[in-house]
C-alpha cells in the first residue's frame, strides 16, 4: 500500500521524470572535509547510453553509488525511474534496486560461493524460477561474458579480468532496465574489451536497457555513449554527445577525448 502511495507522490512531484531513467538534482556530497560531488545535476534518458568520464578520484564511482542508493547525498535528490531513491529505505528501496544492475569497480563477487552461484544469487533472491531455469539463465549470462567454463570456480581462483566479467554477468542476471557499470573494460585485453562493449550495446539496442558507464576507455565511450559527461573536481566540466566534448573549449576535456588509451 505505502509503496504505491510513494510512487504516486514521486511521479506527481517529478511530473516529466517518467522519461528519465536517472536524474541527479543538485547533488552535493562530501567525505569529511573533502567535497567529492559539488552541486551535480544530470539526466539520463530511458534506453540511452550515458558515459561518465573523469580523472581518477573525481567521484565517478561515488556518483554511480548515489544512483543505486548506496550513498546518500548531503543535499540534492536522486531519482531512478521516477522514484526518489535518495529518500527511500526498506522494501520500497529494494523494489527500485531490483530494476538496477550494478557492476562494482572491484567486481565485489561473493567469495564464499562459486561464480555460477554469484550470478544465480539475484535470481534466487528475487524470482520464483525453478532450479533448472535458473541454471540455464546463469549459463547464458556466463556465456555472454565468455565464462561458460567457469561455473563451479570460486571467485578467489579467477583473474582480475574474469572477476570483472563475472561481476557483469551478475549485474545482468535479472535483465535490469538500468545497468550501472563501473569501468567494465579495466584490466581486459582489447579483444575482450570489444566483446563486452558489443554485449552492452546489444543490451541497449535490443532490450532498451539504459546504460550508465564509467570508463577511461575513450573508444568504448564513443561506442556506448549517446551522451557523455566529464567530471572534474566535483563539478561537471563538459556534457553532451561525443562531438560536443571533442569541440569543448576546455583543454583538459579535449585532451581526454583525444587520448586513445584503453583500460
Amino acid at each position: 500500500m505505502t509503496m504505491t502511495v510513494e510512487r504516486h507522490t514521486a511521479s506527481a512531484a517529478g511530473g516529466e521524470e517518467r522519461e528519465c531513467a536517472v536524474r541527479l538534482d543538485h547533488v552535493t556530497k562530501s567525505f569529511g572535509s573533502r567535497r567529492v560531488l559539488d552541486d551535480i545535476s544530470l539526466d539520463v534518458a530511458e534506453g540511452r547510453g550515458f558515459v561518465i568520464l573523469g580523472r581518477s578520484g573525481t567521484g565517478k564511482s561515488v556518483a554511480l553509488r548515489h544512483i543505486v542508493g548506496l550513498v546518500r547525498p548531503d543535499s540534492g535528490r536522486v531519482f531512478v525511474r521516477g522514484d526518489e531513491i535518495s529518500a527511500l529505505s526498506g522494501e520500497p528501496l529494494a523494489r527500485v534496486r531490483r530494476q538496477i544492475g550494478f557492476l562494482f569497480q572491484s567486481a565485489a563477487l561473493f567469495d564464499s560461493i562459486s561464480v555460477g552461484e554469484n550470478v544465480a544469487f539475484p535470481m534466487r533472491r528475487h524470482t520464483p524460477w525453478p532450479e533448472a531455469e535458473i541454471r540455464d539463465r546463469v549459463m547464458a549470462k556466463l556465456q555472454s561474458v565468455g565464462l561458460d567454463q567457469d561455473y563451479e570456480k570460486m571467485p578467489g581462483d579467477l583473474s582480475g579480468g574474469m572477476r570483472k566479467r563475472a561481476g557483469l554477468a551478475r549485474a545482468m542476471a535479472l535483465d535490469p532496465a538500468l545497468l550501472l557499470v563501473d569501468e567494465p573494460s579495466a584490466g581486459l585485453d582489447p579483444i575482450t574489451c570489444e566483446e563486452i562493449d558489443e554485449l552492452l550495446l546489444g543490451l541497449k539496442q535490443q532490450q532498451g536497457t539504459t546504460l550508465v558507464v564509467v570508463t577511461h576507455n575513450i573508444p568504448s565511450a564513443r561506442k556506448l555513449g549517446d551522451e557523455l559527461v566529464m567530471l572534474h573536481e566535483g563539478r561537471i566540466a563538459a556534457q553532451g554527445p561525443v562531438q560536443v566534448l571533442e569541440q569543448s573549449d576546455d583543454p583538459l576535456v579535449r585532451a581526454f577525448m583525444a587520448s586513445s588509451h584503453s583500460g
Binding site: 543505486v68 534496486r97 562494482f104 539475484p122 533472491r125 528475487h126 551478475r170
Partner: protein, 261 residues
C-alpha cells in the same frame, strides 16, 4: 590534550550508542519476518556444528582436569563419592557455560569479525545491498539467530563432554560404572541450577554475534582493518560475556533463590 581526550571519549561513547542501536535492531529483526532461513541454516552449520568438535574436545579435557582437581581436594576429607556431583555441579552451573562462551567468542567472534570485515572492505556488503538484499538482515540477523540457538546447544555439549571426561578420569581412578557415575553426577543438581545456567548462554550467543558483527560491519581501512576487527571482536565479545555473566548470575539468583544455595 584535554580536547583530544574529550573527543576520543565522545567517539567511544558514540560507538557504544551505535552498538546499542545495532544490537537493538538485530534483536528486533530476529523476531519479525522475513526470516533468512536458508542463510540461518548455513550459519548454524558454520558457527554451530563446526564448533562442536572444539567444544566437545575442550569439554572432555576440562572434565578430566576438573575431576583430578576435585579428587585431590575431596580425597583429603574422604569425600571421593562427591566427585561426580561436585564436578557436574561446577560444570553445569558455571564452568560449562562460561568456558563454552569464551571458547566460542574466540572461534565465532574471530570468524564473524573477519568474514564481515572482509565483505565490507571488498564491497560485498554493498553488492548485497545493490542486489536489493537487506545486508543487515541477511548477514547480521542470521548470525545472531544462529548463535542464540547454537551457543546453548554447544554449552550442553560442553557440559556432557565435561561430565564424560570426569567419568573417564573417575573410571581410571576407581573403575566406577557409567550408570552410577551419571546418577551421582546429577544427584545434587536442581532444575534451577541447570536450566537458567544453560539458557543464559543465549545471551552469550547474542553478545558474541552482535559485538563481532558490529565490528565486522563497520570495518574500514582495508585488510589491516579486517585484522583489527577480528581481534577486537574476540576481545570485546569475551569481555562482554564475562561482564554479562556477572549480571546474569545475579539475576538468576534473584529470580531463582534456590539456585544460590
Amino acid at each position: 590534550m584535554l580536547e583530544l581526550a574529550r573527543s576520543r571519549a565522545a567517539t567511544h561513547l558514540a560507538s557504544v550508542g551505535e552498538f546499542a542501536v545495532f544490537a537493538g535492531n538485530a534483536a528486533r529483526q530476529s523476531l519479525v519476518p522475513p526470516f533468512e532461513l536458508q542463510e540461518t541454516v548455513r550459519q548454524l552449520y558454520e558457527l554451530g556444528l563446526r564448533s562442536a568438535p572444539l567444544i566437545a574436545a575442550s569439554g572432555l579435557a576440562v572434565g578430566v582436569v576438573l575431576s583430578m582437581h576435585t579428587r585431590a581436594s575431596l580425597e583429603r576429607f574422604g569425600a571421593e563419592s562427591m566427585i561426580p556431583a561436585g564436578l557436574a555441579m561446577a560444570l553445569v552451573r558455571e564452568t560449562g557455560p562460561l568456558t563454552a562462551g569464551l571458547l566460542l567468542s574466540g572461534r565465532i567472534g574471530a570468524g564473524i569479525g573477519a568474514e564481515l570485515g572482509a565483505m565490507r572492505v571488498t564491497e560485498q556488503i554493498d553488492a548485497l545491498e545493490a542486489s536489493a538484499v537487506d545486508a543487515f538482515r541477511y548477514l547480521v540477523v542470521t548470525r545472531v539467530v544462529a548463535c542464540v540457538i547454537a551457543v546453548p546447544i554447544l554449552t550442553t555439549i560442553m557440559n556432557f563432554a565435561g561430565i564424560l571426561g570426569g567419568f573417564i578420569a573417575e573410571r581410571a581412578a576407581t573403575g566406577m560404572s557409567l550408570g552410577l557415575y551419571f546418577e551421582r553426577a546429577f544427584s545434587l543438581i536442581n532444575a534451577t541450577d541447570y536450566v537458567p545456567a544453560t539458557m543464559k548462554t543465549m545471551v552469550f550467543g547474542f553478545l558474541i554475534a552482535t559485538v563481532s558483527s558490529f565490528l565486522g560491519f563497520n570495518t574500514t581501512s582495508g585488510t589491516e582493518g579486517v585484522g583489527r576487527a577480528s581481534t577486537r571482536a574476540v576481545v570485546l565479545s569475551s569481555i562482554s560475556i564475562i561482564v554479562a555473566n556477572v549480571v546474569l548470575v545475579r539475576l538468576i539468583f534473584f529470580l531463582f533463590p534456590e539456585a544460590a544455595g
